[in-house]
Symmetry: C2
Subunit: 318 residues, 2 copies
């Protein structure tokens, strides 16, 4: 049996990424009910809001689901307490050092998966005792590694470095790209952008429409002097681009970013002034559909592409 | 039969990329003799030097080989004449508009393949009548597309857009990554970095050693205000980074680049002052070996990974 399906007790080795302003209880429970792992993104939630989402998610599904926790979150202790009190079984941690919190969560019987973008942090996470890691490449939406290593180059390095299961992320939104990830040694995939446009995603409809209209080259890794983040091009992203090309420093970038810009864009629908986080794979997305339909299409395509490979094997065997 | 193996009359659907200062007749003939397609990189050759390389390559192999021609080359007419006069059968064109020269080459019975990094140019190349295209992702070494689309995201888009065969490039240096490219729909792969460190590569030994010592994050896409190029980090690349972070304009970047810096680095061995073009896959390379050994290892791994997929197919079939 697939090691991630077994570890997380899910039917398909497909995980919906925890995404700020997109993945609340509605999306997470829809994905979990469809046989993948749904994840509530705590990054955009106050502790009491997160508690409500977890409670609603438990009512909406009897299947496993997880919570994504950015470890640099200001109220991290409160978030950890909520997760433990509410009996969450799976935590995906990111953006921070897993050494501090992994043992706390594991002591409560929680399965812990940590998101990394380079070998150094993959090894640190393994040492901290996590059960699996997500290896996320340059093409992913939102916050991203400084090395700019793409999924195609990152996966084989991570697989070589660690012994725990590896989940591939970044650039995956179809059966074909899921198959490519498995070719690189992935045990499962984590998919963000393709689920950001699900009907159950809490992203503003205007953001979903902008994502499905996006074409290649419409996202760009920005804010490299702060924390690199992949953004969909709009007036705000263009202003950042111009500032960066002109040599803007951290202070200027922080001024430009201001406050609550991600919420304004992704949740409230300010398509020009907002910060819109999405992956390169957005160029291939063109419909808003139920999460179940998205997940099943990826899985069906993955299996038929895998079957195609069986015949390719025979064809090449000369 | 594989459409690219058939088109180019080669045994394995593996193409060695034309690389400035690395791929002369020695590397090209070694790869062709081993069953792949060797390519002479005309980008670093005067027309009379190219003629000599073609003549030597013809003596060194009776297998098909190609010449890579950057179409923006200043002496492009002379280069085209040399290729036609010497009876070259295969041209890989890049860096320029294929509309001008494709028909000239095709009229002489030459197979033409064009390198692109986005859908727009893929369609232009197809319209110009090329026989196949190379789709090159962000992780590739040397000159690169402005959209920064990674191979994982680029391949499915290109396959959807064109009807001619597609060769994947960027981030491929092993059987695993070759398999991933095929999962994405590639008909063949073009491999640069892994052959830059072949014994037969004309790269300076110091450059080869620096490539096999490279770790993740050691390459970076630079010179974005001129033509984006992926460089191995050294004093020169660091100076470019600092200048770019400070807002350096095109004129300043051209000053920094100066003249003949690629030759100084890659061919003459100036490891700090030279311009060193290499892909992200360099982080996974760790030996200088004969081209035949490199090619055969990739092919053997590709086939065994493909066999692994057959069992994966059974395992997932619940």
């Amino acid at each position: 049996m697939n090691p991630i399906s077994k570890l997380l007790n899910i039917k398909y080795p497909i995980i919906q990424a925890g995404m700020v302003w997109c993945s609340g209880w509605k999306l997470a429970s829809a994905v979990s009910n469809a046989g993948g792992l749904g994840i509530i993104g705590a990054g955009s939630m106050y502790p009491d809001v997160l508690r409500l989402h977890i409670q609603k998610c438990k009512l909406a599904t009897d299947q496993p689901f997880g919570v994504n926790i950015p470890l640099l979150y200001p109220n991290i202790q409160e978030i950890i307490d909520v997760v433990i009190e509410e009996g969450v079984k799976i935590v995906f941690s990111s953006a921070g050092n897993p050494a501090t919190w992994t043992s706390v969560l594991k002591a409560k019987g929680i399965t812990v998966v940590h998101v990394i973008a380079n070998t150094k942090f993959a090894l640190k996470a393994q040492e901290a005792g996590v059960d699996a890691i997500v290896a996320e490449g340059f093409e992913a939406g939102g916050h991203n590694g400084r090395e700019e290593t793409t999924t195609l180059c990152l996966l084989p390095m991570i697989k070589q470095a660690v012994t725990i299961p590896v989940i591939a992320a970044g650039g995956i939104g179809s059966g074909k790209s899921m198959l490519a990830a498995f070719a690189l040694g992935a045990d499962a995939v984590q998919i963000g952008s393709a689920f950001a446009v699900a009907e159950e995603s809490s992203a503003h409809p205007a953001f979903k429409n902008k994502i499905i209209s996006a074409v290649e080259g419409d996202t760009k890794l920005a804010m490299k002097k702060l924390v690199p983040v992949r953004l969909l091009k709009n007036e705000f992203a263009d202003a950042v681009s111009i500032a960066e090309a002109g040599g803007a420093d951290r202070v200027r970038l922080m001024e430009l970013l201001g406050r609550a810009r991600a919420k304004a864009g992704m949740f409230e629908g300010d398509m020009e002034g907002g910060e819109l986080e999405i992956g390169q794979v957005s160029a291939m997305l063109n419909a808003i559909r139920p999460a179940k339909e998205i997940l099943e299409e990826i899985w069906t395509d993955f299996k038929s592409e895998l079957a195609r490979f069986n015949s390719l094997h025979n064809e090449l065997d000369f």
